[in-house]
């Protein structure tokens, strides 16, 4: 039996909220790997990661537009919105771990698994909700997109199944609403983030007002990730994330007409030695208290949380704030680069990196004592 995942508007809201969290969760690993690359080296690798990174930002914004169109605001400040790294993602029968780490062959493998065209569950012998299965390590997953709200004891077979469930949910709920002469797209159109506020960020933003535009937004997310029908290039000639990364394994670009695994374009060099040796999944406790790197990592986390809070307000109608948030984003980039280029004082091997630890708990006296007072500098 394959139960439907989304049966009411609350389920759909919850799944889209989870989609925003999921799209964001790829940003810390991509951003860290990108800035771990030495200046002026690995230009092709850096360009590939950067291109994917900005499209993930677009995907997050597109998901937020769909949720807003359905009458619910996103919440980027919710407890646990930024996962505690490493975090796990499903990949069919198996799963894998996503870390904040330097650019390396291992990291590239993880990126390929994140973006790999989904093997969606075609097997209907699983009992339980459609596209889901029961896993022995179920508790290890923290991202909300992995577990449907209506059946939290199950997890999705793949991220492809997660997005399929969202589209089927929209289809089903909108049809039900239409039969009553209503629509589920009751959101305030003025909350939609448009190109006026979102620029040079990996593609065209889609304003969502109805089922068609919602499907266009979701299709863009799915196609940019895994490619259209698992092709290397999409209909507009843009290479999908998976094959963009795969080129880095071959050290060669794909050309239109190439077969998967056999790029025939220009060759380039990928030098994994020209990378700062970031400590994998760094935490504040890895940095000596009182050191500059500790203070800078605290400041980065604080500023990142403020940045998310500003974007959150922008998604709730104060779109003007997005322009300032973009400036803040460029500052965050500089601060992340500085952390990554600095060795950890007490450690002869590793460099620092942003820890992306958000202060979700109520600030107790202990917590406040940990970090010096920060300012956006």
């Amino acid at each position: 039996m394959n139960d439907r995942i989304i049966n009411n508007i609350d389920d759909l809201h919850d799944m889209l909220d989870a989609a925003i969290q999921l799209e964001h969760a790829t940003i810390p690993p991509y951003l860290t790997a990108l800035y771990s690359i030495h200046p002026e080296t690995n230009l092709e690798a850096a360009a590939a990661i950067r291109a994917v990174l900005v499209e993930e930002m677009l995907h997050m914004t597109l998901s937020a537009n769909v949720l807003n169109a359905l009458g619910k605001n996103p919440d980027l400040t919710a407890v646990g919105f930024v996962p505690d790294f490493p975090t796990r993602l499903p990949d069919g029968e198996t799963d894998f771990s996503v870390s904040i780490d330097k650019f390396s062959p291992d990291t590239l493998e993880t990126f390929l698994r994140i973006e790999r065209p989904s093997k969606t569950s075609k097997d209907t012998t699983y009992s339980g909700p459609k596209g889901c299965l029961a896993r022995s390590n179920h508790h290890a997953f923290q991202l909300r997109a992995v577990k449907p709200k209506s059946a939290p004891e199950y997890s999705f077979y793949s991220i492809g199944d997660f997005y399929t469930a969202i589209k089927e949910g929209i289809e089903y709920l909108e049809e039900q609403a239409n039969q009553r002469g209503e629509t589920i797209f009751t959101g305030d159109p003025s909350l939609q983030v448009s190109n006026e506020y979102y620029y040079s960020g990996g593609g065209q933003i889609v304003k969502v007002t109805d089922k068609d535009s919602a499907f266009r937004a979701l299709s863009l997310i799915i196609e940019q990730g895994e490619g259209h029908g698992h092709e290397i290039f999409d209909s507009e000639g843009e290479i999908s994330h998976y094959y963009r990364f795969e080129q880095l394994k071959h050290g060669q670009f794909y050309r239109v007409g190439d077969q998967p695994g056999k790029p025939s374009g220009n060759k380039f060099e990928v030098d994994f030695d020209k990378v700062y040796p970031i400590k994998r999944n760094p935490k504040l406790k890895d940095y000596p208290k009182g050191s500059q790197i500790y203070a800078a990592a605290c400041a980065f986390n604080h500023n990142y949380q403020q940045f998310l809070s500003t974007v959150n307000k922008a998604f709730k109608g104060e779109q003007d704030l997005l322009l300032g948030a973009v400036c803040g984003m460029f500052r965050l980039k500089e601060h992340a680069s500085q952390l990554i280029r600095n060795p950890i004082p007490s450690d002869s091997e590793y460099h620092g990196g942003p820890t992306f630890e958000m202060a979700y708990e109520q600030p107790s006296k202990d917590k406040q004592a940990q970090c010096p007072s920060e300012k956006m500098s």
Binding site: Q292, L323, G324, R341, N342, P343, S377
Partner: protein, 170 residues
């Protein structure tokens, strides 16, 4: 610690004292190694060794920041041989550019063929400390975002260099 690692650590401290940006900021530019290499290539290892040794001696002998500054002025900045090199290190960090040494210095202390004015790299241009000092983006690089020019610059001295009295027991 290898000799070169020690030399680089000393070079960072000397650069910190000369530019008033601390080791965290200097490392953060990603330019330490390439500036050290540029300096040794042009003025030679022997002179860099001498300069860093004098710096270490000044640092160890000084009891406070004021005494340290005084000695730095007297023995490095005001020295005919090392003063121009020290000023070049400052310009290197602030602008990412190696400036050709003055003619009198070249005639007295050596004329490297590579001693011409040049940007160390395109990254060194973008990482010049002058941009941090005035909180502006390098023209044509590190785009700060649409409308950022409407915001006042945020200038602070959180990352200035600090003299820490030398601990003779360590």
């Amino acid at each position: 610690m290898t000799n070169q690692a020690y030399q680089i650590q000393q070079f960072i401290e000397l650069s910190g004292a000369l530019t008033d940006f601390n080791a965290y900021s200097l490392n953060g530019t990603g330019q330490v190694q390439s500036y050290y290499d540029t300096l040794t290539r042009i003025v030679g290892c022997v002179m860099v060794d001498e300069l860093l040794s004098i710096f270490a001696a000044i640092y160890e002998a000084a009891t406070d920041h004021e005494a340290f500054n005084e000695a730095l002025r007297k023995h490095i900045i005001g020295n005919e041989k090392f003063g121009p090199v020290a000023r070049n290190i400052i310009k290197l960090w602030y602008t990412g550019t190696w400036y050709q040494m003055a003619q009198f210095w070249r005639e007295t202390y050596g004329m490297s063929d590579e001693d011409v004015t040049f940007f160390v790299s395109s990254a060194s241009y973008a990482e010049g400390l002058l941009w941090q000092a005035i909180d502006a983006n390098p023209s044509g690089a590190k785009g700060p975002g649409y409308g950022s020019w409407s915001l006042p610059p945020s200038i602070n001295f959180d990352n200035c260099w600090q003299f820490k009295p030398f601990n003779h027991t360590s």
